[in-house]
Symmetry: C2
Subunit: 310 residues, 2 copies
Amino acid sequence: MRAVALAGGVGGARLAHGLQRVLAPGELVVVVNVADDLERHGLVVSPDQDTVLYTLAGLADRERGWGLAGETWSALDQLGRLGEETWFAIGDRDLALHVVRTARLRAGARPTEVALELAARLGVPSRILPVTDDTIRTRVRTPDGWLDFQDYFVRLRCEPEVLEVTVDGAARARPTPEVLASLATAERIVVCPSNPVVSIGPIMAVPGMPAAVRAARDRGVPVVAVSPIVAGRALRGPADRMLVSLGGQASVVEVARRYVDLADILVIDEADAGLAGQVAATGIRPLVAPTVMTDDAARAELARAVLAAA
Amino acid sequence: MRAVALAGGVGGARLAHGLQRVLAPGELVVVVNVADDLERHGLVVSPDQDTVLYTLAGLADRERGWGLAGETWSALDQLGRLGEETWFAIGDRDLALHVVRTARLRAGARPTEVALELAARLGVPSRILPVTDDTIRTRVRTPDGWLDFQDYFVRLRCEPEVLEVTVDGAARARPTPEVLASLATAERIVVCPSNPVVSIGPIMAVPGMPAAVRAARDRGVPVVAVSPIVAGRALRGPADRMLVSLGGQASVVEVARRYVDLADILVIDEADAGLAGQVAATGIRPLVAPTVMTDDAARAELARAVLAAA
């Protein structure tokens, strides 16, 4: 069964890993957010893509959630000694990947080509596709003004209140041919439990993406989303506070409202079973299942539930 | 006393360190070979410059001779996992420097500006100057054909016989204004115990360098060279075998012949005192002194002897 998953960071990567475990090799395409990419020390860094890449390659650090297992930090120490800002912590192994990616991009390769190469080099049986080869960048408005996403997310540790979100460059961006082809042949589309505002939002903000998903749904392909909010809280990251500061609620009902034009089904955790009626009232079909992925087995179990939901 | 030292790798760096210890801060300029620079993984790597930089910053690994003390190798391991060639071993801390240098160069800075910045950032009280901001590259002819210098030096561990040496780009290169200004105000010029063929050779192959050194000598500035050959052997590297395969001898007399147009004095080790007469016969004045720099005190002692030689 050919599946396309839309994913941002850690939660999305974990469900993508579950899907990879239950699907036959090559059947999974993960379309990743690239609006939180940045340039650091002259290198192109793609945090969401790399979280997915490392997770699907079995190399991710399981406790920290981001970066690589067995990582070391000598280069960061040296960058600090050289007077560079080090609030964006790049590990030594991670740095090697950014170096290779940057070299390939500077040699003229498309971001999509590089993403496919890197996944292949790390033995990942799935395809990881940037939603676009164009440059898009999430910015957030806080009480102190507009910030680049990683400035908000990493440097300021998500502490400022987010009053508005924009994706610079989105209007001029286009989905890649690879993304459109994957959606055109998908049998399932999965919206992973990533931040609806700053992970899934920028993916769907690329003109052409809503129509491509709509076309798949018109062909009868079910779109199944998994709520990143469980019992009113985001398992990781600022999604809960962000949904509130943007004028909504931190609840699966809010997630349903945001996804009503995107998905057919919203998987909500057993802890939120009592809200199933309110989810249904938004027009999206709720499915109650355990969504907290504590280990590889839980990732695969959720993936099976998602694929069977349709 | 304002001194300009011409230096290649490890031996040159050690004497430069000694000179830095005995001169007042700011009085030493080290003009470094850049003909063994290379691009690896899309990064600009400048091995001789970095050996001098790390040594003058007190960060060099003393046993290995090159690279940084306390170095780790995670990025190299990851580069290998990503399918990159890893025969040119870049440590994690070293990688950080190449990343910063490359970013500054790509942002439009001159190599000289970057060299001065990096030395300042690492607290080095001396100026380290690339002989040229132009691209020059040493190539060596072996029985199997022409090789890039690092291909010969690192990948093939100096094993092939060197039959000919050329410095690509030298004819079109120019010394930097900073190098020329340093030579114009120097009170001593020191030719460090670096490989005469592939370290000092490329520095002096830049048109304008011989005339600038000659002008200093005409002003009465003594040029003191230190032999990298001791008792017929190079302390490090292939200088001894190279002098022979290029048609000469592995001896201080051969070094004297090569430096007769460059230097007034050649410092030779006590082990070679018996060859002082033959050195003098070439037209260069021999000075016998301990030249093996076993520790910081020996570096300073040799530096004092060199500065006092004139």
